[in-house]
């Protein structure tokens, strides 16, 4: 199979995905092509259809979904020939999936899993060792099973498995989203290096604009199942030709300065069929005019190698984006007056663990102060928060909240315990599992209000919903039909129902899309000043910490590596670990 230099290895034309049962369309008019050695990032928020695009390309759609359109892989048309497509998987095209904890067969030795994808006759220990070496792993890993490996190692094994058949096209669906920041940087570097060495055509699916721009030559921005914009990564980043891309870029919190308000996109991503016959972004777009709601905008040329599906792309190009206002760095309020939360020498060791989860942590939160805890998985940041609210029992050290001292919150007399829990509340990471699915939003909030000693009537619930930016009619609905951002607003409303003095947010925005993340960060900043509460913000994301906290603690392996004013720590870190964290943030390619 000989392919000319300029012929793309993967060529997708007019892809459309629909549900067979009710005829609904989820994705339409998606086209892209990637040549050997080139890379394309398909960017979009949840619901944009980016995962469906690759699944449809590879013929791996979930049951009940059907794809139309023309797919050509390495010169062979495969869209009407599932058998040919199956024969091309592995040897011509391969897919790396998101979650390293679920993508490997949990019971099969790593070496065998790699060998399963190797050509017959190549399944030798030497070849497996060579494949492991290619992804930076030693040969003895072959004898281990996935549960004996860390997340980063598993994703390396996943890459080796995906490459076992020597594909000329590699597709990666959010390959590093589930990994820690430093591990993410390593794995991204590895994928990029291997892609270059092998000269593969590379398609990267991601929601993370930073990752997209740092990894790829071209980008394709998907919105509500349609192509919003395509073009070379650097050009798109410098001057977006679609308002959605521009808004998405603006919503990405910067690492080097603090903004007064992070520009968020109002509303949420609509379903493909909800915006038929008009521009899907019009309802959320500041530039939208009548022309935008009059027919579906087709992608049209917008500069060299670029297309945009915005009818007002020229207007957009002519107007410079509003530069977001930079906020003055907050005055460190440390040491003034008594602390709201004072933690000293907190120790917690889990049974059977080799090292303590918390090895003597000191931490202080003043009244109304916003304090960040930054760390990767295993740093102890979540254990710390759980100790404060009594979900975890520390082995040593003391916690003082608002004048009440305790080690184990559950050992306090009932009255004092209730007083502490009224004063400190927590918002968790996953808004999909932290709300009871069978109770309506109103019932959840009424219960929280009553627990705080209020009557929990309709008016109070409505006021609480208004406080977090939700309409009162949400009260009658169960969480099932709500988006991630709406659910997180409900979770925040539940937490602030009793007007706590301290709100602990444990990775509360990391499961959300960028535009929604900006909304929630702005909401938290508003609530902090309107309810004059303190924030203890736990995250792995340094840019987020920059936006929302005054002071920050950097945690690693249960130790505090560094602490101080957020601006100072991020601008001039002294600890090597903090520097490594900062260096791991993906930077766009020059």
């Amino acid at each position: 199979m000989s392919i000319g230099e300029t012929k793309p290895l993967i060529d997708v034309r007019g892809l459309r995905v629909g549900r067979a049962a009710d005829g609904r369309t989820l994705l339409s008019d998606v086209s892209f092509a990637v040549e050997a050695g080139r890379s394309l990032a398909i960017v979009g928020e949840s619901g944009s259809g980016k995962s469906l695009t690759v699944r449809a390309t590879l013929g791996l759609l979930p049951a009940g979904l059907v794809a139309q359109g023309d797919v050509t892989l390495a010169g062979r048309p495969v869209s009407r020939d599932p058998k040919a497509l199956r024969a091309l998987r592995g040897g011509t095209v391969s897919l790396l999936l998101q979650d390293p904890f679920t993508l490997l067969n949990p019971l099969r030795k790593v070496g065998k899993q790699i060998a399963d994808g190797l050509a017959r006759g190549k399944r030798t220990p030497a070849e497996i060792a060579r494949r492991l070496a290619e992804v930076g792993l030693s040969a003895d890993v072959a004898e281990r099973r996935p549960y004996e490996l860390s997340g980063g190692m598993r994703q390396r094994v996943g890459l080796a498995c995906a490459l076992a058949g020597d594909p000329t096209i590699l597709i990666a669906d959010e390959p590093t989203t589930a990994l820690d920041v430093t591990t993410q940087a390593e794995v991204l570097d590895l994928i990029r290096r291997v892609q270059r060495e092998r000269g593969m055509a590379f398609v990267l699916i991601t929601h993370d604009l930073r990752v997209a721009f740092s990894m790829s030559d071209d980008v394709l921005v998907l919105y509500a199942g349609r192509t919003a914009e395509t073009g070379p990564a650097a050009a798109v980043r410098a001057a977006p030709r679609h308002p959605y891309t521009r808004a998405l870029l603006a919503a990405e919190p910067p690492l080097d300065r603090r903004l007064t308000v992070i520009p968020s996109i109002p509303g949420t991503v609509p379903a493909h069929d909800a915006v038929l016959g008009r521009c899907g972004f019009a309802d959320r777009c500041a530039l939208a005019g009548d022309a935008c709601r009059d027919g579906t905008p087709e992608p049209r040329p917008a500069g060299p190698g670029r297309t945009s599906a915005c009818v007002r792309a020229d207007v957009l190009a002519a107007t410079a984006p509003a530069e977001p206002e930079t906020a003055p760095e907050p005055e460190p309020a440390e040491g003034s007056g008594p602390a709201l939360l004072e933690i000293s020498g907190l120790i917690r060791t889990f049974r059977g663990a080799k090292r303590p989860a918390l090895a003597g942590i000191d931490l202080r939160v003043g009244p109304g102060e916003a304090v960040g805890i930054v760390g990767e998985s295993g740093s102890g940041k979540t254990t710390l928060a759980r100790c404060v609210v009594g979900l975890e029992r520390p082995d040593g050290g003391a916690i003082t909240f608002d004048g009440t001292s305790y080690g184990d919150l559950r050992a306090l007399p009932k009255g004092e315990r209730a007083r502490v829990l009224r004063g400190v509340q927590m918002v968790f990471q996953d808004p999909y599992s932290s709300l009871n699915p069978v109770r309506s939003v109103g019932a959840v909030l009424a219960e929280a209000l009553r627990a705080a000693g209020r009557d929990g009537g309709k008016a109070e619930v409505a006021a609480l919903l208004d406080l977090v930016g939700l309409r009162p009619d949400v009260a009658g609905r169960p969480p099932a039909g709500m988006s991630g951002g709406e659910r997180q607003r409900v979770a925040i409303a539940r937490a602030v129902a009793g007007r706590p003095r301290l709100l602990i947010c444990d990775e509360s925005v990391s499961a959300l899309d960028v535009s929604v993340q900006a909304q929630i960060l702005d909401l938290l900043a508003d609530l902090r000043s309107s309810l004059s509460m303190a924030l203890l913000f736990i995250t792995h994301d340094l840019a987020v910490v920059r936006q929302i906290t005054d002071r920050v603690y950097v945690l690693a392996s249960g130790h505090c590596r560094e602490s101080g004013p957020t601006a100072q720590i991020l601008d001039s870190p002294t600890d090597p670990y903090t520097r490594a964290l900062l260096a791991s943030v993906p930077i766009p390619r020059p």
Partner: protein, 316 residues
Amino acid sequence: MSAGFLARRALGTLAVLAILSVGVFGLLYLAPGSVERTLLGTRPASPEALEAIRARYHLDEPVVTRYLRWLGGVLQGDFGTSIRTGMSVTDAIGSRLPLTLQLTAYGTLLAVLLGLPLGIVGAFRKGRAVDRAASVTAVAGMSAPPFAAGLVLLMAFAVHLPWFPVYGAGEGFGGRLLHLTLPALALAIGAAGLLVRFTRTALVRELDKDYIVFARARGLPPLRVAGYALRNALIPILTAVGLIVTSTLAGTVLIEVTFALPGLGSLLVDSVTFKDMPVVQALALLLTLLISLVNLLVDVAYTVADPRVRFGEDTR
């Protein structure tokens, strides 16, 4: 790691057996009427005979001593003599045990041969006609009590169509196989239904997982992908097979009566009817032992199927 796990499981099994042995020993004293009369059976209850029984069974000694004496005998394979036949209980059971074990093994084998493929096909063809047919058959099988299924099979394949014998155990391997086919099938029908459900559910869950999508995406052959899923669905399937072995063993009691097979089941029925306590005790203890052994084997099989089991609950 593995040896320690096995030792713990074996000790647990021993402890369960020890506790149950007390219960089995107590059966004699729970039976209605006096112990002497029970042990005397149908013989006339003259004072001399009662005295002889008392002396032979050491009934004047304290209960604990009698239990230990009984247990000592049991451990040496001595369960006393049958009241009904005067035979040694060990001999009576020994002559009938092979038939019941053969019937149980045959029944389990048929259940696995019927249930496993149907469950696998159902999972891979989820929602299609084959799957629905398999599910309906499974429910029908599970709803049929073995003795009723046995009667239907007898009528159909031994009376109307004289393919199989109506009763008896048969001679030689071929004869035995022929004679045991209908009873084993009667036992297997319900068990196979259970296995279809377990296999299908476990496989459907595995087939939805990421590693299957990934395996397909990197072009592994369909058989290998199916192997990945089956291997990971093995634990629930093993659990079901363990349940099937024990339920088949228990089911032999009625089936042996239905098909007039001289196995442990018919011995148990006769002995209970006759209040032949030593035999009932021995049989109860033997069934307990067999069921415990099956469970122990299933536990061992778990650790082979999934090495993470050995490391306790800390698995993903």
